[in-house]
Amino acid sequence: MASEAVTKGQAGPWADEQIELLERMLLIRHAEARLAQTAKDVGLPGGVHLSIGQEASAVGVCSCLDVDDWMTSTHRGHGHFLAKGGEVDSMFAEIWGKSSGICKGMGGSMHVADFSRGIIGANGIVGGGLAIATGAALAAQLDGKGRAAVCFFGDGAANQGVFMESMNVSSIWKLPTIFVCENNGLSEFTVSSTVTAGKLSDRARAFGMPVEVVDGNDVRAVRSAAKAAVERCRRGEGPSYIETVTYRIHGHLEAEDLILAGGSYRTAAEIDAWRAEDRDPVSRFRALLAEEGICGADRFAELDQRAKEKVDAAVTFAEAGEPADTKLVFELMFVEPKA
């Protein structure tokens, strides 16, 4: 559903596209809700960073991409992975540490990647994707096939120097890089405004690229900004910056309360406000589609059920997988195991 011209209506290609957007968001929501539940009930290995509340940003952007466009993600990367077409089965198996995982259990939640779908991967290093996306954009430019490279990063990552360096190179070389800053106002346990000067979007403006700051919980707004940026990439007109203003509902990671030991960096009221039906990206889009007659209650229940079933199947798939293959560690690092 990359860039075809469509007319709005209750049925037809445009309506189908809206349903697809909703389905993707539902899949991400249910997948992550399930991860939260599993982390709580039986535990998952390592740290689990969820993007619940930010689904519209991932889906709005990735819905404009083709399978061979590139995308780099963050430590909060499940939504990006699924939005770009990654499979929930192999993502769950990865998080469960199984050899059927998309990275064979070697990377886990913070490193899900699927190069066959242009998903360069999540990253444990804040800001780690910025230069990598810029490099992929260089390759795309050299290929000359009009591909784009999207870089998702947080408002916290925007304070890393590499953000400025990557924008500069992208701009000066007219690379097809799309910088997508998911501004959720938080950097781990710090409120970003206490450590960030000026407006992030002004940083992008300084490098002479088009800037759009959008309501990141409005999937259509995100999609239309992304569409313009992707078209610029296709035409060889260089990088763009999109800021999706959003909020993460869950903690920085699922074990957050343990780490905070009674401390806090935000209020329950703030979380509730973003959780409200008219602000939550999923329920908001659902209401809109109902109002427009595109997706009534029955249809929604059906879509919702289908997403849940996919997630159930993914859990079954993950649980049934073989443990990771230790020999692979050596092979992948060019090492003969020590006797």
């Binding site: 290995p45 390592g46 740290g47 990865e94 540490g97 199984k98 050899s99 995982g101 990275c103 259990g105 070697m106 990377g107 886990g108 913070m110 490193h111 990253n123 444990g124 290093i125 804040v126 800001g127 780690g128 916290g156 990552a157 304070n159 890393q160 120097g161 950097s187 781990e188 346990f189 710090t190 206490t194 450590v195 960030t196 780490i259 905070l260 030991a261 401390g263 960096y265 443990p323 990771a324 293959d325 230790t326 692979l328 560690v329 050596f330 992948l332 690092m333 090492v335 195991p337 020590k338």
Partner: protein, 328 residues
Amino acid sequence: MTRKRYTQAINEALHEEMGRDPKTILFGEDVALAVFGDTRGLLDRFGPDRVRNTPICEATIAGMAVGAAAAGYRVIIHMLFSNFIYTGFDAIANQMAKLRLMTGGQIDLPITVLAVYGGGASQAAQHSDSNHPVLMNLGGIDVLVPATPGDAKGMLKTAIRNNRPSFFLQASGLGAVGGDVPDGEHLVPLGKASVAREGRDVTLVNVGSMIRATQNAAKKLAEAGIEAEIVDVRSLVPLDETTIVESVQRTGRLVVIDEARDMCSAASQIAAVVADKGFSALRAPIRRVTVNNVSMPYAPNAEAAIFPNADDIVRAATALCQPEVAAA
């Protein structure tokens, strides 16, 4: 003497040293709410002039440490996971390690860098490095790897108080481990290893995080009639060669246990020192129990297979104590 967790011991040292010298300042990402609990309460007590949450910008955090120290402050920075040292590495390797030399000794850099290292919790490759060898190789920077809460407090206080740049590396697996911590003024000299257990048959040199595996191995070895001496190295730069070599002179055998990758590990350095200075005492080859030259995989089973454990140590030590090995 009070029983405290390793993290609490660090917290106590930070409180005491910041209380002692008003020119001591501390900054880093999330030091207010304290991701690892070690910096908890400092902001409330010493205020936002001296304790600051920084943006996510390791290159600048490390660079500012150099600048503020050169300009007269005693600086403590927190780099969170030791993997994030890499994003701040220019200021560490090109500036912090070299400035004193390059400026002909015009300045001291009283900087203490806190970071948490090591694997074992499925944090995957970018949050599990034991990268003390990278730092040891720079020169000009102390590298401290205390293994007990008491040493954590005493060594951190010494490191903050002296005028040398140092890395105080906390093993992620030891944070919750308890131990006796002397109250108040407790300074442990740097560059002094400690003999944590006496034994006549084999020397086990522990590097930081491996202390529990090393202790468990010594117990298992004792059950099999092999008495291991544990030398806890405590500090890698400066390295207490004397205590290590003297122990090997008593036992004739050496196993070094280090969570770093084997290539150019602390274990290789210690093995080289003993080959050099304790050669005549050796009755068997030196063994290193380390991580293979691989990054930590995420899957718990794969990580456990890579991670050195007590059985690996027992196997290595037992083999050295076989008569034919000794004779060979």
